[in-house]
Amino acid sequence: MGNMCPDKSLLSLYLDGELPSPWKEKLETHLLHCGSCQIQAKKLQGLHQDLHTLPCPPMEVIQAAQKRVWQQLAVKIKEGQGNSQKHRFSWNRPVAIPLPAAIAALILVALVASLAGPLLFSPGNGASHLPVARINTEVQNIVPVSNIENLVQYLEMQAATADIVIIKLPETQNFVPAGQPTLLKAVEYQGRKKP
């Protein structure tokens, strides 16, 4: 049978008169020129004829055969159940739950999820309302060094000469603590009138 030859099942369908157009005509054209398909078709035709011409066996023989098949099937099914029970016992069997119990279980799950959800999924244990600093400043080659050792020295030098604004307060003033250090917007401060 060549690469372009039809499948055996198509041949069988054709011989049974079940292959529709235009496949039927195409197959007939192919059969005219393909020796291997002609042989295959003849074999299938012979089998077809044999099945129709064979004498029907007695009813006792048929019943005995059926009995044997059912017995073998019963053994196979029993073996299969024994194996599958180990793995699929709880999943394949329908479980009957009373409706009130099912509703109570659903409510319990929802309650636990609502209580545990914020604790599990909020960053920083519920501190999500606080601003989170994410400073992504990436600039290459701003430090004139080529390795880590030089970088350490450079940073030490920078720290020593840090850019600090030093303000000398008036010598005449004595200060006293007046509560906790406070940071607020000027528009919200009512303590002093603007000069």
Partner: protein, 170 residues
């Protein structure tokens, strides 16, 4: 390496390091666009809540880089750090960290520290009171006014200090 070469190399390395420090970071491409200006006005508020003394400073920084301020008085030292930063959603915040050493006749030498964050818009004024803002009659207080705006080289005054009264140095 010969013994004469070592001092020469040290001089070269030191001068290279100093030059690198002196170069303003706003000249570096990539940082200039992110640069911010922090305008600082430090005031001493006297009795009757009148302004007795003030000094103005302008510092250029970038988000995440602190501007450090040290105020030295007769009986107080305030070390304050102001760090602006921008969140991914574009909102700008200012973090104020303060350390205060104050010597009073009643309590002796006292140390206090704080860190606070506040949302800030460009041009908006924020006040930091390192000693607190509950002023009492006859007691001088320190007020630090902060204002943030984006860096614009054309309209930006030189970094520095301008004192209206009192002695200051940088």
């Amino acid at each position: 390496m010969g013994p004469r070469l070592i001092p020469a190399l040290l001089i070269v390395l030191t001068s290279a390091g100093l030059c690198a420090q002196e170069a303003p970071f706003t000249e570096v491409p990539g940082l200039k666009e992110k640069a911010l200006i922090l305008e600082i006005v430090a005031r001493v508020i006297e009795r009757n809540e009148t302004e007795a003394w003030s000094t103005e400073n302008t510092k250029v920084t970038i988000p995440g880089r602190a501007v450090i301020l040290k105020l030295v008085g007769k009986n107080v030292i305030v070390l304050a750090q102001f760090t602006p930063y921008q969140r991914e959603d574009g909102k700008t915040f200012l973090v104020a960290q303060g350390q205060v050493w104050i010597d009073t006749p009643q309590q002796g030498l006292k140390y206090q520290s704080t860190i606070q964050t506040i949302p800030i818009n460009y041009g908006e004024q924020v006040l930091f009171f390192p000693l607190g803002n509950q002023t009492k009659e006859g007691q001088a207080q320190i007020e630090i006014q902060l204002e943030l705006r984006p860096f614009d080289k054309k309209n930006t005054p030189q970094e520095g200090q301008d004192t209206k009264s009192g002695d200051t140095n940088k």
